[in-house]
C-alpha cells in the first residue's frame, strides 16, 4: 500500500504513515465490529441452545443490540473506588485492550496480511501474555479482595496455559519450517486447498491441545475462573464500570476472536479451500476471506457450545489439567511432529526409505508411501500417548476419590 502511495507522489515517510494509519484503522474497526458481531452471535446461539430467542428487538434479528449496549455502557457512570490506585486502575483496561489490538496486526484475513511478521505465531502468543499484566494491574489497582483474587487466579492461569499453547504450535512450525503465518497458510494449500494440518494426526492432536489451551487463555468456559461470577463476582473486573468495563469486555471478546482466527490459520488452513486458487485474483481473495471467516466462526460456535454445556473447573483442577494433562501430550506431539517432518523431508538420514519409496515429497509431488508411514507412525504415537495419559489421570482420580479412606465409602446396611 505504501508503494502505491509513493507512486501517487507522496513523500516516502508520508506514504508509510498514511498506509500505517489506514491499516491501523482497519484493524481497529474490524476488531471492534467483529467483537460486536461476536457478542450478538454468542447470545443468539446460546439462546437457541436454551430454547429461547435471545436479543431480537434492536435492528433486524437484533443485530444492532451490541450498539445499543455499547451506548448504554459508555454512558454509564465511571466509578473508581476511593482507595484504589487511580493510575493503575485506569491503565489496566488500556493495557488489556492494547495487547489484544496488537495481536490483530498479524492476523491474516483470508489471503490478506496486514503485517507479515517472521515470528508472527510467537507474536500472537506474546501479546496474549501481556494480558496478564493488565489483569494484575486491575486486580491490584482496584483494592478489592475479590479483584485481587481474580487477578491472581487469572495471571496464574494465563502463565500456566501459555506453555502448552506455545508448545502446541511447535509442531506446526516444524511442519512448515517457518513461523510466519503467511508461510503456514501457504503450506496448507496442498490437495486442492484441503491439505490442512488438522487432517494429519499431529495436527489433530495439536489442534485439540491448542484450542483447549486457547480457551483458557481467552478465559472461556470451562476455564473462566478469573471472572467466575458465581464465586468471585467478576474477578479482576469487579470494581470496573461504564466505559472501562466495556473496554475489558471488548478486549476479552477481541482476544477470543483472535484465538479463533489464529486456530483457523494454524490448523484449518486459514483462507484455503477448494476453489480459491482456481478463481484467483480479487474473487479468490474474497472467497478465501469467506472461508476464513466461516472457519473462525465455526470455531467460535464450538466455544459457545462448550460454554452452554459444561461447568467450570476449580483452580487446582485447572492447574493440574495444564501441567499433568496438556503438557505431556504437547511434548509427545512435538516428538511425533519431528518424526513426521523427518519422514517427509529428509533423505540422507534414511537411505533405505529413499530406496523403497523414493525421494521425500515436495510441494508439488507427494510421496504417498512416505506419507502413509508418517501417518501411521504419528497416529500410533499420539493415540498411545493420549490413552496412557487418560489412564493415568483416571487412576489418579479413582485413587483420591474418597478423602481419607475406604471407611467413608458408606453403604446402606
Amino acid at each position: 500500500m505504501a508503494d502505491a502511495l509513493t507512486q501517487l507522489g507522496f513523500a516516502s515517510w508520508l506514504s508509510v504513515l498514511i498506509a500505517s494509519i489506514i491499516k491501523v484503522t482497519l484493524i481497529l474497526v474490524g476488531g471492534s465490529v467483529g467483537m460486536m458481531f461476536l457478542t450478538w452471535y454468542e447470545r443468539r446461539s446460546i439462546s437457541y441452545m436454551q430454547d429461547r430467542r435471545g436479543p431480537n428487538r434492536v435492528g433486524p434479528q437484533g443485530l444492532l443490540q451490541p450498539i445499543s449496549e455499547a451506548i448504554k455502557t459508555m454512558t454509564k457512570e465511571d466509578a473508581t473506588p476511593r482507595d484504589a490506585d487511580k493510575i493503575v486502575h485506569f491503565l489496566a483496561p488500556v493495557v488489556m485492550l492494547g495487547a489484544t489490538v496488537l495481536s490483530f496486526a498479524v492476523i491474516p484475513w483470508g489471503r490478506m496480511f496486514p503485517v507479515d511478521l517472521n515470528a508472527a505465531v510467537l507474536f500472537v502468543i506474546a501479546t496474549g501474555g501481556l494480558h496478564s499484566i493488565g489483569m494484575m494491574m486491575a486486580g491490584w489497582g482496584s483494592n478489592n479482595k475479590f479483584a485481587l483474587l481474580g487477578g491472581m487466579r487469572g495471571v496464574a492461569q494465563l502463565i500456566s496455559y501459555e506453555i502448552p499453547q506455545v508448545m502446541a504450535i511447535i509442531p506446526v512450525v516444524l511442519m512448515t519450517g517457518s513461523m510466519s503465518l503467511q508461510k503456514i497458510v501457504e503450506a496448507q494449500n496442498d490437495f486442492a486447498g484441503l491439505g490442512w494440518y488438522v487432517f494429519s494426526p499431529v495436527g489433530l492432536l495439536g489442534f485439540a491441545l491448542f484450542f483447549t489451551a486457547s480457551l483458557a487463555e481467552g478465559e472461556r468456559t470451562p476455564f473462566d475462573i478469573p471472572e467466575a461470577d458465581s464465586e468471585i463476582i467478576a474477578g479482576y473486573m469487579t470494581e470496573y464500570s461504564g466505559m472501562k468495563f466495556a473496554v475489558f469486555y471488548l478486549s476479552n471478546y477481541m482476544s477470543n476472536l483472535a484465538v479463533c482466527f489464529i486456530t483457523a490459520t494454524l490448523y484449518l488452513g486459514g483462507g484455503n479451500g477448494p476453489g480459491v486458487d482456481a478463481l484467483g485474483g480479487i474473487a479468490g481473495g474474497l472467497l478465501s476471506l469467506i472461508y476464513f471467516l466461516l472457519k473462525s466462526f465455526a470455531l467460535f460456535f464450538v466455544m459457545v457450545l462448550i460454554r452452554a454445556t459444561v461447568p467450570r473447573l476449580r483452580v487446582d483442577q485447572l492447574m493440574s489439567f495444564a501441567w499433568k494433562f496438556l503438557l505431556p501430550l504437547v511434548l509427545v506431539n512435538i516428538l511425533s511432529a519431528s518424526f513426521w517432518v523427518a519422514l517427509l523431508r529428509w533423505d540422507q538420514q534414511w537411505p533405505k526409505l529413499t530406496e523403497w519409496f523414493g525421494a521425500p515429497s515436495t510441494a508439488d509431488a507427494t510421496n504417498w508411501g512416505r506419507l502413509a508411514i508418517a501417518i501411521v507412525l504419528t497416529l500410533l504415537i499420539n493415540a498411545g500417548a493420549v490413552a496412557l495419559i487418560m489412564r493415568l489421570t483416571n487412576r489418579n482420580v479413582q485413587k483420591h476419590l474418597y478423602t481419607t479412606d475406604e471407611e467413608l465409602a458408606l453403604g446402606l446396611s
Partner: protein, 370 residues
Amino acid sequence: MLKTEELQINIGPQHPSTHGVFRMLVTVDGETLVDLKPVFGYLHRNHEQLGEVNTYLQNMPFTDRLDYFNSMVNNHAYARTIETLAGVEVPERAQYIRVIMDELSRILNHATAMGFMLGDMGAWQTALLWGMREREKILDMFEYVSGARMMCNYCRFGGVVRDIDDWFITELKKLMQGLPHYFDDFEGLLLNSEILLARARNIGVLPKELALAYSVTGPVLRGSGVAYDIRKAEPYAVYDRFKFKVPVGTVGDVYDRFLVRIAEMRESYKILEQALEQLPDATGGFINPKVKQQSLKAPAGEAYARVESPKGELGFYVVSDGSGSAYRYKVRAPSFINLSALADMCKGYTIADVVVILGSIDIVMGEVDR
C-alpha cells in the same frame, strides 16, 4: 519459612450465588476455607409473629411466602397442622389433589434448584433454563387451578379452594409425556460430564453418621445415605397408597445430592402417574363443606404436622388457646435447619466449592429468614 496469611472475605449479602440476601463470612487460607460463619436476617419479617396475630385462614397466604418455590407444599403443611389441631376431615379427592400439587412442586423445585446449583458451578444457565421451561409449564397449571403462579394460596382447611377439572388432567397428562424427555436431557447434559464429576464428587461430604445429628432433612439427608422420607416414615395424605422408592446416596457429597434429586424427580413422576390413576371422582367433593373457613376456631392444645417438602421436613407447630388465631406459631423451615451443616460441610474445601455446596443444600431465603 513462608507463612500464608489468612484472609477474611464477605460472600454476600449481595453476591451472585448466595441465593438471596445471605452472607457468609469466610476465612480462607489461600483458597482453602478455614472457617465460615453464616449471617442471616436480611429478609427477616417475623413471620411467626404475623401467624400469632392473623386468624388461621388469614395466615394461609403468608405461608406461600416462606419457600416461594413450593407454595403448594407450604399450604399443604399448614392446612394439615390446622386440620390436626381442629380435627377436620379432608375428603379423599382433596388429598389426591394435594399430593398431585406436592409432587409437581417437587419436580419444579428440583429442576430449578439443580439448575441454580449448576449455574453456581459455572454451567452457563442451560440446565437452569431447561428446568425453567418445565417449571413454567407446571406454573401455568398452578395458575389455572389456584389463580396465581407462585403464591398459590390453594389449600383450605378440609380441602382445596378449587377442584381440578378435565382441562387440568389432560394438560397434566401432556406434561407428563414431556417430562421423561426432560429428565433424559438433563441427565445426559451433565450427569456424566467429567467436569461436573470433578467438581461434585467428594465435595462437601456430610457423612452418614453425622447427617442425623446435623438435623438435615430431605435430599441432603438422603444424599448422605439415610433413607428417611416422611412420605414413608409417617405417611400423610394418601402417600401410603403409592408405590415409590426412596433414593439414597452413598458418600454424602454434592454429587450424591444431585443424583438423589434427579432420582426423586423420577419417583415423583411415578407418584403422579398413580395419583392420576387413583384419583376419585368428584362426588366426594374437594373440600369439607362443614368447615367454617373464616371463623375457624381450634380447641386449646397444640399440634405439629409435617410434610416432605422438596427441601426437607417442613413442619408447623401451632399452639392454640381456643381462639381464632394461634397462640404460638412456629415454622420448622427445612432450608434453615439444613444450613446448620453448611459451615462444617464447607470446612477444608476451597472457595469455589463453597458456592457449590451451598447450592447443593438448596436454600430459599424466604424460608431461612422467615
